[in-house]
Symmetry: D2
Subunit: 354 residues, 4 copies
């Protein structure tokens, strides 16, 4: 239950950043789906380190090997096991951290919780885990291929995408390394990240995700509301500090007469401040939400901290880390969105009789 | 799975606003806990309608009846069944809505999903369901009585509590009807709600929740991160549009060198921008988060909409509704927080050997 | 998880024999099913005490009250809450047992596990709990009304039904109080139970259950095999000591050349020693299995035992108990079978694409 | 949920007999356990093909590779991923079966359920899957090392172990290839299997399992009764047709006055016909149960059957198969028993407060 996600389409994962491999098992995937392996690899490539100058220079080929559940290119309905080998685990980079707690990392909490610490690159806490999610999400996308899911970088520090998503051309997201579909804003963002990296620092940002052509009726009413499950999915991603959908935190300042989302004659709604979800269930309008990422904790600067013995000491980042996590997190946000929607899509098949 | 919450301490619920009763089953509650029934009723009273001039005037005594799992005032370790009778269900208030979809309500999505609609006060979508959660949360609080959980109204519309929570005296939260522990801000909020109600309108707001004395080590690393579970819990509450913890959306604008939360010699951290959670696991510092509520959808104004046949029509709210949901949601936020923390508290007992 | 049964169609229950009520929540039941309440009550009547001379004379009307999930006689897709009030709880009958452990009852294990004991009629361990299952099973039957489920008493002590089930007329099961569709055997069984009761003793027996018109494909391959889930369901019933399906324990003595179940041209199989299940999945043939019940532990005879202080003492049954549990267990076996089949029926809807 | 087993200590698996590897993820295993890798390999060797003359001559080294969750030989509390490579998959042996349904195999049901068939050695239905269980069970044994679990072959066809288990020396189980701790009976069993194999036939049998030094209080009262979970575990093993514990099917013939299991002054019981479990919870006495295995379906004889087109055809087994599955199933029964007991052992840690 701790390393699993989903109700019916369930992903269970394992793996430490610096072990031999990470991997997972996808359970509940229906039979008879032709798998597009290239599309899966493509998603992994969008997430992988070393892909551009503004991300970590750690190089991992991130090649997924499927070991079951697919026969002659088609899913069989049985559990899909896969691994991604770790090929470039420079554990030596981390040896100096053996007993020092890095600020804003999970070293301290893991050590206290488990009484044991895998200090190699954060062990299980490493964001490398999310490569597993991208594999599962890429498969999920193929199950719900009628739904379009597009995430993009909507802010880096104080540089914001100010245009509404309706004015953007999502086919442009991949044309730049920061994954912002607006060229001018993308340039500013990239410049900001370069500046931050030179300072040995890191910076936060936000990702906006839009799901379109979502069928009406996805989501369960009480504790599996569509947006609650999306929220949990996003808050599971490393470095995420907040989630809002539709009107979000702005909605908290509004009046009902402004906020209400009037129905038009064709069943669509006027403002879609609802964000495509009403009462936890999709209403057929665009689903959109925003995810906040804090700055990466590993900075190339001197920091005061303590070690496992509780003694004051200091630390300076030396591994290969991202100055801003957001560009590489775009495919992760999409993958988790796909997993949530595919899960509810399958659940919905049981909802009505006949 | 759809009407259940929690991993080990599991709440399963049922009930429509206008049926004979709502209720639930709490499973996994340990044996041997002496139950303070008055404390439970007290929490229900904080949530109940009709408690003050700024909430709905619908009157429900909201008395919980426990039917199992407690013997001679002590929990037995078996499942705890309870009901809360609905005594004041004026279904007639709702008869005019039989086939009209109320804007920003879940009428439309339920009808499309289930092919059937219980139009009496929203059926299962009614926030009356949250009375069940308050019962379970009040019991959970008694299980983790060493942890202090305090929520309060931190904004109503544009009226914000500007003081940091550290400067507040939580014993003052219940001294005013809006549940803001700062007297001056509370007055402004109450005034704002009165003004909104007179206009036949509604308004959104936010609640901040602080959990103190939380043991180190609560939360599971990957998909049951403490903040992800809190996020899902909060996003399950009716009208919630956003969740952020620690630095939240502000953290997305910051640099790593500003944001990092340095360890002090005693194991505490300096800024607690982490919000008491690192890598999904509590670090012993205060946990704090903020929840955004949209304005209540039922307004006493004329609105254009459609009916089940897709014909344009109009609607005007007539039932007894809240102008601002936030004051009554404060005990709900606390209850769900208690459920999440108690669940992880129990889970943690199995984490280590010996 | 402890008081819940089922994957998708999930029953969660509560209740002690001598509390105010027992009850449950059925989650995952699809919308749009017209409920036959009389059929549900009829199943409860088959299980209820006091129905004939060979069962306990305790009288409980066992009337179920549905509190949610059904609107105007049709299921709404939301959780179905129900209670059955306890009206005849003579706790005084049990007061003498306060600290004595009754042999072959669960008094000792509950006391040791939970450190607390609800001595009133066994508390949660009472078979009264199974009335909840009968309600849920009766609803499940209505969901899969194309499947015919027939259980019957196949032995009482050494009195066995020797005819194969194919030679029986299931419409005769309810024509006698022991629920054996063969008149002559039924008479012998009834006589045996009378004799046993007069001796202040109790006796074991077996129930055979046959499910016909089961669609091909129910069951999941590895850990939710159809027969494994049926086995767990049956072993959850009080007093059950064994489960076998198809050739069962006899199959363990056979050779492959005798046991193999050859396919005929129409897709049916020759011997059906498989019991309608191959590799955990239904093959469309009759599913049949047998369940062993030990004799009821409460006998009207003097027995040596110990009390909570570990002192030797003696006990003599005084409450109102069944001399043989099997006749009343027939509807329970059917109910649990219906729950398992309905659960897999719903799961199967998601198995294939398109 | 379909390929997972356990509540808290959860095993999720994948893999087809003739893919590149099988494997699994063990979730919920506590931190701080020193792993004895040799003991794990030893259990795999007990299960592996080719180990003696009375089992299939297919050769698989069955070497497990752990990929996560263990650091410097000690469990870390995170999920444990492992694979076992398939090195000897002679798919050609199976090519002739492409569209023929083998009698008493799962070819037909899988094909009908999933609409796709992996005909290579049965795909996911192959008992090779149980190697995964042996790995997980061997780890579970190390978690509950104070409990002794001993299974043995108690019958092969009509050759029965007639001595009660109390008269056996379990250290002798591994001294012969059929895994029966009584030398004389073992010889008869081996002779029987040789005879059957020469005839190109197969034969069924039973395994008895005994768990000793089980703490009082394992098991959950209603739907997770200890024996119900053991039953489900055993019925998940390929070829199992029945399960009984304690007095089992014999108990169904007994009277209460014979069957009741009187408490002695020291809290032990006299007859232990209860099989160490009362009300679903362990009472500290020996737990013992018996599992029935049908004969292996693949025989080296000519059999009539049909193909996917529904045409009559015939088949003759050609792969390398076991004449009797029971000797190799002994470690599987022990492994699943260990998983069930370890799961309840962890669950029990949360049962009481303090």
């Amino acid at each position: 239950m701790f390393n699993s996600f989903g109700n019916i389409l369930k992903l269970t994962t394992f793996g430490e950043s610096h072990g031999t491999a990470i991997g997972g098992i996808i359970d509940g995937f229906p039979a008879g789906i032709k798998v597009d392996f290239e599309a899966i690899q493509n998603e992994l490539d969008r997430r992988k380190p070393g892909q551009s100058k503004i991300v970590t220079q750690r190089k991992e080929p991130d090649t997924v090997e499927f070991m079951s559940g697919i026969f002659e290119g088609v899913t069989t309905g049985t559990s899909i096991g896969f691994i991604i080998k770790n090929t470039n685990q420079k554990s030596k980079d981390y040896n100096h951290n053996t007993d020092v707690y890095r600020p804003s990392h999970a070293d301290y909490t893991y050590d206290k919780k488990y009484g044991i610490r895998d200090h190699r690159g954060g062990g299980r806490t490493s964001a490398r885990e999310t490569a597993n999610w991208v594999v599962a999400g890429a498969l999920a996308k193929q199950l719900i291929s009628h739904i379009e899911i597009n995430a993009f970088t909507s802010s880096v520090g104080e540089v914001f995408m100010v245009k509404p998503y309706q004015d953007l051309d999502f086919t442009k997201t991949e044309t730049n390394i920061v994954r912002c579909p607006d060229e001018a804003t993308a340039e500013q963002m990239i410049e900001k990240i370069h500046e931050i990296r030179k300072a040995g620092d890191t910076i936060g940002g936000t990702i906006t995700c839009v799901a379109q052509n979502v069928p009406i009726g996805l989501g369960e009413p009480i504790f599996n509301k569509l947006h609650a499950q999306l929220g949990q999915a996003m808050l599971s991603i490393n470095a995420v500090k907040g989630f809002e959908f539709g009107s979000g935190f702005c909605g908290a300042k509004m009046r009902g007469s402004e906020h209400n989302d009037a129905f038009l004659a064709d069943g669509t709604t006027q403002s879609n401040l609802s964000g495509g979800i009403q009462g936890g269930i999709s209403n057929g309008m665009d689903i959109y939400f925003r995810v906040a990422f804090k700055p990466v904790a590993t900075i190339m600067q001197h920091q005061e901290t303590i070690n496992a013995a509780g003694e004051a000491t200091s630390i300076q980042g030396r591994g290969r880390h991202d100055p801003c996590v957001v560009p590489r997190a775009v495919p992760i946000v999409e993958a988790m969105t796909a997993l949530v929607l595919a899960d509810f899509y399958l659940l919905n098949k049981m909802r009505r009789t006949q």
